[in-house]
């Protein structure tokens, strides 16, 4: 029986944990997320990678910035009484699968030699996140005021080569190549 190497499985779980906590924190705090899409990564752009596929409630966003605009539109509550977050994403569950353990698009030969197939680095991974999104908030008792929806986000992440070479800069180890979002 073939089996997925434990290292890859565990590294993918760690990467998912980091990514999920970072991503939802960013959108809850109304901070930018567009830099973590392949669309805005020079290495991927130069290698000819197509823009990240972002599909929000059935609507295709051409760029990550369009998605940020939608998020801003969703947050928009001009007369909201508080400075608090008006839209909050709370993650209930997430899971991840390695879908290509030998990802090499856009990588230099050095990087391919440096990270083996079972090292848990050169992976394309799929992350499936579900949770609750709260619209509206009060000082204390949110639930009475908030509209609640279920959301489901499916990401495909690919390695960020800029941070994986020897002596390369710090930063996110994965970039978003695809995102499919639904909230209902």
């Amino acid at each position: 029986m073939a089996y997925v190497d434990d290292t890859n499985t565990r590294c993918a779980a760690d990467a998912a944990a980091k990514f999920v906590s970072w991503y939802y924190n960013q959108i809850n705090e109304a901070k930018g997320i567009s830099q973590s899409y392949v669309t805005n990564n020079e290495t991927y752009k130069n290698a000819g990678h197509p823009p990240a596929d972002i599909c929000v409630n059935g609507l295709v966003c051409a760029t990550p910035e369009d998605w940020e605009k939608l998020l801003a539109q969703q947050r928009d509550a001009p007369k909201a009484a508080t400075d608090k977050k008006h839209v909050r994403y709370l993650v209930d569950t997430y899971d991840t699968h390695v879908i290509n353990a030998d990802y090499r698009f856009g990588a230099t030969q050095n990087l391919i030699d440096l990270h083996g197939v079972n090292d848990g680095v050169r992976m394309m991974i799929m992350i499936n996140v579900s949770g609750t999104v709260y619209f509206g908030v009060s000082m204390g008792n949110y639930d009475e005021y908030a509209v609640k929806q279920h959301f489901n986000d499916v990401f495909i992440l690919v390695p960020n080569w800029d941070t994986l070479g020897k002596g390369s800069k710090y930063g996110k180890k994965f970039l978003i190549a695809s995102q499919t979002y639904r909230a209902y």
């Binding site: 073939a2 007369k79 209902y184």
Partner: protein, 634 residues
């Protein structure tokens, strides 16, 4: 092996001869004897069998069994899961136990009356092979009450008659209700009754008004002495509000029950003193704060973000009403406010708009977005997939999955309703809940390879998915993406990401549960290896079960079918390949007892390869079928 541990070495010899120190010595006798007390078999139950209890630990030290291969561990894990599904029906069932004897033990002088050490003692002694965890114990009279898993009760009951800290203990199972942890003293219960009486007296059912004006002059409250000091008065108000809020079962009933509150003539100088009103009755529509001592806007601003549906507010008789512009400010704070001090400040339409401006707006919902290339791979795949998943999971795994396919599921039950999710929770690979990659379950609950996946699917409840011809029940998004590994080992291949939201009927026969579940399921499809039955295979299959129903408003006003991308799903004959058809024929034949020829006729006729329809038409036509239609054995 372990060295013989004291008198226990004698196997089945009865220890009746040793009465003074019955002979079961602790396996770590040198330490912690005082807290735990001695163990002895003597006294009350001399005839009971010697326990096979915690003698020699043997060599089963940590790490001894490490290093087994992942694959075999996965297989073993799966096996125990499957067996567990059949055998342990009572995993969540709890039993209440009553333990007598702690009062006479030496541990009774411990700060907690010895409860903790007694429970630790039982957890340690009850079963040497299995870790037993008891609930939190409560000391009530002479008994310690504790909840335990039903499965563990047998081993715990073996300790009946053991001696704990110098005194014999008696354990019994009971159906009496567990004593509540927080004991309400008689005085407290009395006060509660009086406060409820105050509420009842001051509640006007006709006007749905809770009149809490001039509380300082209330007879009952005066006798209780609740307004003796400022802090006491605030506490009393909190208690009153809490009681008012909890008199209703649901938020809806509460909203209807109490629509108005009067706090007039209470010498309130800051709403902080009565802030809890906002928590207890957040959906209040009319509030009277007249004739208090509020002297500035800041004294009321703590309520700025509350009472979102407040329509009428009275502040007359407060010093702040002499401030200029206070009305404008207050109007802004409460979006639905229409009447302030008897003056109309907003029309209902304006109120609705103000409320809308105050709350964010969920993004619009568009129908399914299918971008799966020219061959409608997603539509064809999903049709075959859900039909086979409902009717023949092994065939499904064999057709679309290979040795590298991975499957996992996550389940997010409603809090407190975990029982309904039992069949899924033991597989749930919610990495957030598992606490990250260090938890072995992250590896164990990932099912790799068609055979393992098929095996695992067997233990999941039977399902019936709605047909894809009802697009209003489904949300399907899919798109192609590049750079999957090509199975030939060279170059890249295109992949297809499919994300499905839908629902299915479920029949969980092991738990006797039937109902509808909502789910999200995402697939990654990629090209097959040589020799596979289909040109594409499932690389990854991830199922999420959740409690959310799609709200009706989500369904777009425009019928989903009319939108171009969904057309491939909604129209046409389902395209089934020969292998799938053969499976369907076989399944129908098995279920109905018809032979293959008639099964095929039945399926290819009006049923149009819809298994359910075929089955239905069989039931209708059953009486008219000739004997030749059935297989010899039927």
């Amino acid at each position: 092996m372990a060295p013989p541990s004291g008198p226990r070495g004698g196997g089945n010899r009865r220890p009746t001869a040793r009465t003074s120190r019955g002979g079961v010595s602790k396996h770590r006798a040198a330490v912690r004897t005082d807290r735990d007390g001695d163990v002895s078999m003597g006294g009350p139950t001399p005839g009971s069998n010697p326990p096979t209890g915690p003698s020699g630990r043997g060599n089963r030290g940590r790490g001894a069994s490490r290093g087994s291969r992942t694959s075999s561990r996965l297989a073993q894990n799966l096996k125990s899961y499957v067996e567990g599904a059949a055998g342990h029906g009572s995993r969540y069932a709890k039993t209440t136990l009553k333990i007598l004897g702690i009062k006479n033990s030496k541990a009774a002088s411990n700060p907690d009356g010895g409860v903790k050490s007694l429970l630790e003692f039982i957890e340690r002694k009850a079963d040497k092979d299995k870790k037993i965890i008891l609930g939190r114990g409560t000391l009530e009279g002479d008994y310690v009450w504790v909840k335990a898993n039903k499965d563990d009760v047998a081993s715990i009951m073996r300790l009946n008659g053991y001696s704990y800290a110098g005194a014999p203990i008696t354990i019994e199972e009971t159906t009496e209700p567990f004593p509540t942890g927080s004991k309400v003293s008689k005085e407290a219960a009395d006060t509660r009754q009086k406060l409820i009486a105050v509420l009842a007296k001051r509640y006007n059912a006709e006007q749905k008004l809770l009149d809490l004006s001039a509380l300082g002059t209330d007879d009952i409250l005066g006798n209780l002495g609740t307004f003796g000091s400022q802090s006491l008065a605030e506490k009393s108000f909190k208690a009153l509000m809490h009681l008012a809020g909890t008199q209703y079962k649901t938020a809806e009933e509460r909203k209807d029950g109490i629509q108005s509150v009067s706090l007039a003539r209470n010498e309130i100088s800051d709403v902080d003193q009565v802030f809890t009103l906002a928590y207890s009755l957040p959906q209040l529509r009319r509030l009277d704060l007249s004739n208090n001592k509020l002297d500035s806007l800041s004294k009321i601003s703590k309520w700025k973000h509350e009472f979102r549906w407040l329509e009428e507010l009275y502040l007359v008789g407060n010093p702040l009403t002499s401030l200029t512009g206070y009305a404008t400010e207050i109007t802004q704070w409460f979006p639905c406010l229409q009447v302030l001090d008897g003056n109309v400040v907003r029309t209902p339409q304006e109120a609705a708009e103000a409320l809308k401006a105050m709350t964010p707006n969920p993004l619009p919902q568009l129908p399914s977005n299918l971008r799966d290339g020219e061959n409608n791979v997603a539509s064809i795949f999903l049709r075959a997939f859900f039909q086979l998943y409902d009717h023949d999971r092994p065939a499904l795994a064999a057709q679309f999955y290979d040795a590298d396919s991975v499957f996992s599921l996550t389940a997010t039950p409603e809090p407190g309703r975990e029982v309904d999710w039992k069949s899924y929770l033991k597989y749930s690979r919610n990495i957030q809940k598992l606490g990250g990659s260090r938890n072995p379950a992250v590896v164990q609950r990932l099912f790799t390879g068609a055979s393992l996946i098929a095996e695992m699917w067997k233990s999941l409840p039977a399902t019936r998915h709605a047909t894809l011809d009802q697009p209003e029940l489904w949300l399907i998004d899919c798109h192609t993406f590049p750079h999957l590994a090509d199975p030939s080992g060279h170059g890249f291949a295109m992949g297809l990401m499919i994300n499905v939201h839908g629902q299915f009927e479920e029949a969980d026969t092991t738990e006797d549960l039937f109902g509808t579940r909502t789910f999200s399921r995402s697939f990654i499809l990629g090209p097959s290896k040589a020799g596979a039955p289909h040109p594409y295979r499932v690389i990854s299959d991830q199922l999420t079960l959740h409690k959310w129903k799609r709200q009706a408003a989500v369904t777009p006003a425009v019928p989903a079918v009319a939108v171009a991308p969904t057309a491939p799903v909604a129209v046409g004959v389902p395209v089934l390949d020969e292998a799938t058809k053969a499976q369907l024929i076989q399944e129908l034949s098995r279920r109905t007892g018809m032979n293959a020829q008639y099964s095929e006729l039945c399926l290819s006729g009006t049923a149009n390869w819809n298994f359910d329809l075929a089955l239905k038409s069989f039931e209708e036509q059953k009486a008219n079928l000739p004997p030749a239609a059935f297989t010899a054995s039927a």
